[in-house]
Symmetry: C2
Subunit: 304 residues, 2 copies
Amino acid sequence: MTAPSTLRGVFAPTLTPLKEDLSPDVDRWIAHCTRLLDDGCHGLVPFGTTSEANSFGMEERMDMLEMLVDAGVFPDRLMPGTGLCALPETVRLTSHAVELGCAGVLLLPPFYYKGVGDEGLFRSIAEVIERVGDERLHIYLYHIPPIAQVGYSIGLIERLVSAYPDTVVGIKDSSGDWNNLHNILTNFPGFATFTGSERFLLQTLRLGGAGTITAMANVVPRTLRRLYDNWESENAQALQADVDRFREALAGYSPIPALKSIVAFRQSDPGWRTVRPPLVEFDDAQTQDVLEKCGLCGEREIED
Amino acid sequence: MTAPSTLRGVFAPTLTPLKEDLSPDVDRWIAHCTRLLDDGCHGLVPFGTTSEANSFGMEERMDMLEMLVDAGVFPDRLMPGTGLCALPETVRLTSHAVELGCAGVLLLPPFYYKGVGDEGLFRSIAEVIERVGDERLHIYLYHIPPIAQVGYSIGLIERLVSAYPDTVVGIKDSSGDWNNLHNILTNFPGFATFTGSERFLLQTLRLGGAGTITAMANVVPRTLRRLYDNWESENAQALQADVDRFREALAGYSPIPALKSIVAFRQSDPGWRTVRPPLVEFDDAQTQDVLEKCGLCGEREIED
């Protein structure tokens, strides 16, 4: 029942490679983005949590997005993160993405104040929508309480969808809580619901969800795409198990440095390991350890 | 043992009055700031948590600070909040404050990623200091784990002070945990330690601390100043009890809307109640309730 204009599929919250001075390495970033699309991702989420989005400034984010589109990545495959704590800055980033033609934006709620109620969060999102004032705006709510602490309750989603049915069109649920995801999928059948954890991808698709936006898409896009394309096949459970193997291998590692280490290994480019503080990159020993766990150094490599 | 250049006293994290369109009402804000200094505050913290700092954009914050200084408030009485999640933006706000001549800055750690270690936080603060690259910079660490979730451990403070003894000169401890505050006061005797809760003010001063930066200074600056000036007198405990009465009256209320309601009442200016989302202003009934609790409507008014 998803409206034809909403996004579906496997989306990667793209890792952001850095130069030694911690500035974004745009060339390597665009190459990574292009590779992910070539390898099966339906679209990209520049500036998700995995992208270290909140460690970058407004200007950095807007400049990079423009360069990505200038490089030939179609904005109808882009859902950049645009939610910040400050209302005028969320409005500015969101308007910028809409003007570039991005198919959607992934919207964190304002996340500084804790314990705020649904009324205040509703007003925040409503202000963003009214101030952007553009019917091309399509918002995907970004629910990630383990990190943002502040999130979108079922009641708040309901209120936003009722008030702005053509604008608030989907959600990424990164709660890690199947019950919450299940509630969203069953309460909002017309909504484009993405699971933030690929381990729920098959279940999500079976309940009419839109797909997944997962950090793992940075390293196993083909594996995810195979499951997405074949979720109705007899093979689906085995394909889900292929997906799960990678997450299990990474369990316990800080995901952003771990994923950057894997890309660095595959690209033979140690500079890819660099992260911006407050994150800390993996050293050689940690890198070796994570590569072994993922089977990337031995004979039984996890293939993608 | 506090170095002569560090700040001491009663500081107010200034409330930010808004216009109906949610933009900062700079005239009313400057009037409030001036009144607080006239009423005994040693200095001001524009853009603390109580100021709704993180709900305002970079440009709003820099413009306001310039207007405050232009209005005649001496920057040697100012310690603006400048810590954001994104490194380049923290650097920009911090440099701006230094260039305006502000005596210090109150620095939140980057607060989006949770569970980050001291190494990454040390690198964040070190990057800010190196990039600002100005010996006039004086940083007061802003430790407020109940809201920011990310904070400064004793070990991290030690490392920062060792590496940057002339720059990292103080802290505001808003943990609400006396043991933590006590540890800071006893471990770092030369440090300018402010309690974020005025209920620890007397104890803080007795252990050589610098004073308090408390939301309550927006409404009872004289009461706080009396305690600060007379902490060695026989009367000190009674003066601390005067301070405590106000917090007890406000217990259970969302502090920012509550404090704005009190200022609105005193200034006969209902527009002062307005807050920016995700906060929600108090309605008439809530306002009446908080005024009664504070004794502001009855015969036994809590005086300041």
